[in-house]
């Protein structure tokens, strides 16, 4: 992929061996290298898993599947993307596989939107910082899984559209389209998300499904 991962995080400290070096050591038989690579990125991998499947137990199971798969398939990594992109790809695909197999969360339905409205109604102080995460996650839960995954990878994790396309195994155009539709769907809740109810009137939620 053309652009390196434009995110700062625990990776950017520059201490210790690079991700690529750790993966190389793992393939060469180093028993500890993969565990170190995992510990380095686990919070971000957890975030993407949890926000893609919207359920902590499902997220843990998906992450376990993904890490075993990555452990065993590390020899297939060819270095044409960043190691983090490769790891996220495996995690996101494990999550989407789970969602497909088990239909853990129904895709957007009137029921979900009503549930969200009820949630918002129960929150008299939307400016309260403590509930921000809950609100964002509740809003994300309304999205169809493919849109949600695209939005999490691009907007929340900061991957480029091209990297997101590699992670989600689709085209950059599809990533852009999914993100656009997802943002349109979240538009009625922007004011709430930023803690200001005043601008929410007169906005109708976008209709239509995933591209």
């Amino acid at each position: 992929m053309p652009a390196p991962v434009p995110i700062s995080g625990p990776i950017s400290g520059g201490e210790g061996p690079s991700d690529t070096e750790l993966l190389r050591r793992h393939v060469a038989g180093d028993s500890d290298a993969f565990g170190e690579l995992f510990r380095r990125h686990r919070d971000r991998l957890w975030a993407v898993a949890l926000r893609t499947v919207c359920d902590p137990e499902e997220a843990a199971d998906a992450l376990q599947d993904a890490m075993i798969s990555a452990f065993r398939r590390a020899g297939d990594f060819r270095g044409d993307s960043a190691v983090t992109t490769w790891l996220h790809r495996i995690v996101v695909n494990a999550c989407l596989d789970r969602l497909r197999r088990r239909a853990v969360r129904p895709v957007t339905s009137a029921g979900d939107e009503q549930a969200l409205e009820a949630l918002l109604a129960h929150n008299p102080d939307p400016a309260g910082a403590t509930d921000t995460r809950l609100d964002i996650d509740a809003a994300l839960r309304m999205l169809p899984a493919p849109q949600r995954a695209a939005l999490v990878v691009v907007d929340m994790l900061g991957f480029s559209v091209d990297d997101a396309a590699a992670i989600l195994d689709t085209s950059p155009g599809t990533i852009k389209s999914r993100c656009a539709r997802a943002r349109a769907r979240l538009l009625p809740y922007v004011a709430h998300l930023r803690g200001n109810r005043s601008a929410t009137e007169r906005v109708s939620p976008a209709q239509g499904g995933d591209t």
Binding site: G29, R42, I136, D155, V203
Partner: protein, 285 residues
């Protein structure tokens, strides 16, 4: 354009997915319509709002569980590599200290196959050592200057005796064979019948205590069997002959077995053959 664009059209416009005349039309509408311009601004805020979402830390229990899963994967990979490393044809190139992992919390499903690999490796290890040494034995005798006979355990007895050799360290090429300590007192008059009985027992089971041949006994066997046609070693037994400690050597060659009885001091440099006998082959039916 009639009316306001839908919000998903605005989002696609922002994402650069709307082109041509339609794009120009939306752009001019946004310049004239405060409502749609406001929505467009809100859409543009969404990525920043999502990016500002509090980071999630992996819960400790999930982190611990995944650490253990990866540790089990690493241990499983190590043990399967070990079966390759330890075979005689692949000596370990660079032995690294193996990390000891805490398995207590790992599920049975993960542990059981790993343990099975280790056990199988130990079994295969013993067998491959026996096989490897007997094949090197024939290679060494084949390349010897003297017309030394090929000395190998007969297939039936070798299989029966491998149980005794497994786990014994330091099997030395070129000749390796188990030695039976029988305590039998062979008599000249009944030597042939006694040997037939003894051989039958040894092809049926690995009866009697076995030890590995000492260096001098190997030399003895090589010296005694020298000059005979190549065959396979069927039995080497420490026993008695006419009441005196003796060594009984039986080799199969062709359809017959040949037996030698030597005094117990036999070595590569001296032997004292007390008796010989020719027996019907035990290895050939």
């Amino acid at each position: 354009m009639t009316g306001h664009p839908e919000s998903d059209v605005l989002a696609e416009f922002q994402a650069g997915l709307v082109t041509g005349r339609r794009r120009a039309s939306i752009a001019s509408h946004l310049a004239a319509c405060d409502r749609c311009a406001g929505l467009s601004d809100q859409l543009g805020e969404i990525p920043a709002l999502l990016a500002a979402a509090p980071a999630l830390a992996m819960p400790d229990d999930v982190a611990r569980r995944l650490d253990l899963v990866l540790a089990a994967e690493a241990a499983k990979r190590d043990s399967s590599e070990r079966t390759v490393d330890d075979s005689p044809a692949h000596p370990p190139a660079s032995p690294e200290p193996r990390r000891r992992w805490d398995f207590r919390l790992v599920t049975q499903r993960i542990l059981v196959p790993a343990a099975a690999v280790v056990v199988l490796a130990a079994g295969g290890f013993g067998l491959s050592r026996v096989t490897g040494s007997s094949s090197s034995s024939s290679a060494a005798s084949g390349s010897a200057a003297a017309p030394a006979p090929s000395v190998q355990p007969a297939s039936g007895t070798a299989a029966a005796r491998s149980g005794a050799t497994r786990g014994s360290p330091a099997i030395v090429a070129p000749h390796n064979f188990p030695v039976v300590n029988s305590g039998t007192n062979y008599l000249r008059a009944t030597l042939r019948q006694q040997l037939e009985t003894e051989l039958r027992q040894h092809t049926e089971s690995a009866a009697g205590p076995h030890v590995l041949a000492s260096g001098s006994l190997k030399g003895c066997v090589q010296r005694v069997t020298q000059g005979t046609i190549p065959g396979t070693l069927v039995l080497v037994e420490r026993a008695h002959f006419q009441g005196q400690p003796a060594i009984v050597i039986v080799a199969a060659s062709g359809v017959h077995d040949t037996a030698w009885v030597t005094a117990s001091g036999c070595s590569a440099s001296s032997d004292h053959v007390l008796a010989t006998a020719t027996l019907p082959g035990t290895s050939a039916p």
